[in-house]
Symmetry: C2
Subunit: 140 residues, 2 copies
Amino acid sequence: MQIGELARAARCSVATIRYYEQVGLLPAPERTAGNFRRYQATHLARLQAIRGCRALDLSRDEIRTLLAQLDGAARDCSAIDRVIDDHLTHVCEQIQALEHLRAQLEELRARCRGAGSVETCGVMAGLLDLDVEVRARVHT
Amino acid sequence: MQIGELARAARCSVATIRYYEQVGLLPAPERTAGNFRRYQATHLARLQAIRGCRALDLSRDEIRTLLAQLDGAARDCSAIDRVIDDHLTHVCEQIQALEHLRAQLEELRARCRGAGSVETCGVMAGLLDLDVEVRARVHT
DNA sequence: CTTGACTCTACAGCCGCTCGAGGGTGTCGA
DNA sequence: TCGACACCCTCGAGCGGCTGTAGAGTCAAG
């Protein structure tokens, strides 16, 4: 199986696969005589797991932790659970931050409501009053 | 007012201010004889507006659009409203994507529930089944 | 022998900063 | 006059998770 076929099977781009190899998520496969990567079924399974993790928005490091548990034949799954739990907490925090953001945006938009001019609009003025401390850190 | 004082007033870092200047959000101020930046009150107002926008997670380009409206002495505020509306829509989409993510994570975590070993845990197996197509594009 | 689909490496770019190195400036007190 | 110290300067690299480009090589079919 060469890289394009693997990419189609895992529904990701060829560049993404090479990137995963580069950062050590996907093991480097054997090469053909012409230096093409040749993948086995195990690679597809691992790539699908990685894509699943990314679909859950897990970071590179979190994914590495999970994969290491698989590889290490760990006796219990507590480390796996911890990664999932931590990430769940993180996702909930992000949701809360975004809800806060939405409320602020709605409040801001309400300040305009048909005011014609920039001066009377109140949106730009409202920007100055925002509580920058309670910054919604959406991207982490 | 030099850069450190401005940074304290706007509650951001000195490096951030230099970055905003570099990318054209904040106009380059005058310099002292010793090549230090010297800011006026107008710079603080503009910086606070930028920080307000960032607190709402507006992008560089969205902020540029808003600031251009301010600078251009535009007659009506429809462009401003459009930026806010579009961003609000975007934030709502992000929230929905994250809710979907949370549901998936909770479902995944439920698969373990005290299974001791990695093999019987079901979490790793669950990763393979995730609908990668409906990928929650949280970061845009 | 050529065409065309595929592959290779290496590097730059995106965003919104943040940090570090290696220097200069300006105001104190001793 | 010297040194200590806080502040400032520029330049360049780094983060994550890719994406895109350039320029070259591989391989099967016609």
